[in-house]
Subunit: 191 residues, 2 copies
């Protein structure tokens, strides 16, 4: 999506350790006029896929996932991190390693909200090493649901998570794929 690539170049900031900060328009402050366009692009790609539920994980993917789910008129489920005191024990749970925080956490979804009759679109803001999305794919598999695809705003292609999922046969729709960002110079993969 050309508009996202341009926005990353114009407003994104690259920090040491391959950190791309897009918190001014995507995941701390969100440019909702842009968000709406990007979510429409995602929704249009999946409108005829039979998706009956959107799945994300708290918290920075929720805004994108919510707007996509509103557009597709299907429920949104967001997986929770850790175990909250008012979540039932009847959970799908997957352990995820956070690259950003260098620690493990649980993502969990109540079994009531995913089942083998569901056709799932996973939505998130970032796909890098693929651990968070991998945890969601694991939960979809545990539920016996069908995975229609994974849609993310920004894929860090050089971290390999997206390509690994593609090798496993998962459909991935990344609105922008960063192939490299050495020395602060961002290069996108042609799609």
């Amino acid at each position: 999506m050309k508009a996202l690539e341009e926005k990353i170049l114009k407003e994104g900031k690259v920090y040491p350790g391959n950190v791309l900060k897009v918190s001014n328009f995507l995941n701390h402050q969100i440019d909702t006029v842009f968000l709406k366009k990007m979510c429409k692009e995602i929704a249009d790609r999946y409108r005829d896929s039979g998706v009956n539920k959107v799945l994300t994980v708290e918290s920075s993917g929720i805004a994108i996932a919510a707007v996509v789910a509103v557009m597709l008129e299907v429920p949104l489920v967001f997986a929770k991190k850790n175990k909250s005191s008012n979540i039932s024990s009847d959970l799908y749970l997957s352990v995820v390693h956070s690259y950003t925080h260098n620690s493990d956490f649980n993502v969990c979804v109540e079994k009531d909200f995913l089942g083998k009759e569901d056709k799932i679109l996973i939505v998130d803001d970032f796909l890098a090493v693929g651990n968070a999305v991998g945890g969601l794919v694991d939960i979809v598999n545990q539920a016996g649901a069908e995975l229609c695809g994974v849609a993310v705003a920004i894929e860090k292609g050089f971290q390999g998570g997206g390509d690994e999922l593609r090798r496993q046969g998962v459909r991935i729709d990344s609105m922008a794929i960063i192939e490299s960002m050495e020395d602060g110079k961002i290069v996108f993969r042609k799609q």
Copy 2:
């Protein structure tokens, strides 16, 4: 909002300790067809208030806040809990006590994203004791921004947070106010 009251009566579950679980339509799984209607009600009430930014706190308020912000065509800022490794040190920070988890946490917003020129609508899913919303009001005040109002889905009126904010002169729009839920019987405040 009559439709929300009916939904709470039909789909909500009351647990000991005044816990109302609405995770099947509001904050784990989200009924997005209903969400859109509720967010339109909120957006319509604030459309002429000059709001230029919506503020919420991660994570269960993000879906509502995002859809309201999309409808108002203004940016969304969500305050982060704790201090993430890729957030700058230049933050507004407020300490909030969580009634659900019985612990304190920080909510913070980068100073770049709120300033004295801003007219803020705070949006969240719940307003109970008012600690989370109070932390956001504190941050709005720290920024010297103008608070146009607070819109929430469900106010637990008997926990007093909403009325305390009203006494301070804050405009509160609660889509449903629960006056009591003793013995599992939910009674709404007339609005």
